[in-house]
Amino acid sequence: MKVRVRYFASLRETVGLEQEEFELAAGSSVEHLLAALAGAHRGLDTRLAAVRAAVNRCYVSMGTLLKDGDEVALVPPVGGG
């Protein structure tokens, strides 16, 4: 299955991409995705502890299972206002 991954702010700069399509085994969770992304992008690994994940624009826990076509955003610590 394929998911769309979106990167913002400091993570966008670390990865050097705003978004990408990412191929994953069926049945993968958010946690699996993050581990795979850390393998694919240098410097991302140490940043993930502070990251929340949003699937289709809702915050989710790391164990959430993904399905084909999901939009997954990596949300570094926010700071609006």
Binding site: F8, A9, R57, A73, V75, G80, G81
Partner: protein
């Protein structure tokens, strides 16, 4: 023959919005327009010239816009569930480059009776800084950094 396509007669008011345009508190308050309301409270975020004593040249705000508008609306719903006298909520956040003294966010709440407005307003800005996917980068003379309150 059908009427030609034209502008809608309806005025579409977005109560929760992420925009690159300059903000006006009066304009955001006008989105709440309701003559039955007796009081409105607003929080206005202003770009500061320094943090931790370091001189800021300007800020760059970035958003995940679709999710940011959705989480702003969620904050509005949370407020109306918790403070039943609060009538309407509007939150507009500006993104992109912003200069010192410019307005980055306007939160406006209305209520027929004012007592609950102030706690609800405090909640709104705290919650915005907690869950809304918007980031701000401080740009100094000698570098820059993404800031968060967390």
């Amino acid at each position: 023959m059908p009427c030609p396509a034209g502008e809608s007669w309806e005025r579409v008011v977005k109560l929760f919005e992420v925009t690159t345009s300059p903000l006006s508190a009066d304009e955001v308050v006008s989105r709440l327009a309701n003559p039955g309301v007796g009081g409105v409270a607003t929080f206005i975020g202003v770009v500061r010239d320094s943090t931790d004593g370091r001189q800021v040249l300007h800020l760059e705000y970035e958003a995940y816009p679709e999710m940011a508008e959705q989480t702003l609306a969620q904050i509005g719903a949370e407020i109306q569930a918790r403070w039943t006298t609060v009538r309407e909520v509007a939150i507009v956040h500006r993104v992109g480059r912003q200069e010192i003294g410019e307005t980055s966010v306007v939160i406006a709440l209305s209520a027929a009776h004012r007592a609950e407005l102030f706690d609800a307003l405090h909640y709104a800005i705290d919650r915005l800084k907690e869950i809304v996917p918007i980031w701000k980068k401080e740009v100094w003379t000698d570098g820059s950094e993404w800031r968060s309150e967390q």
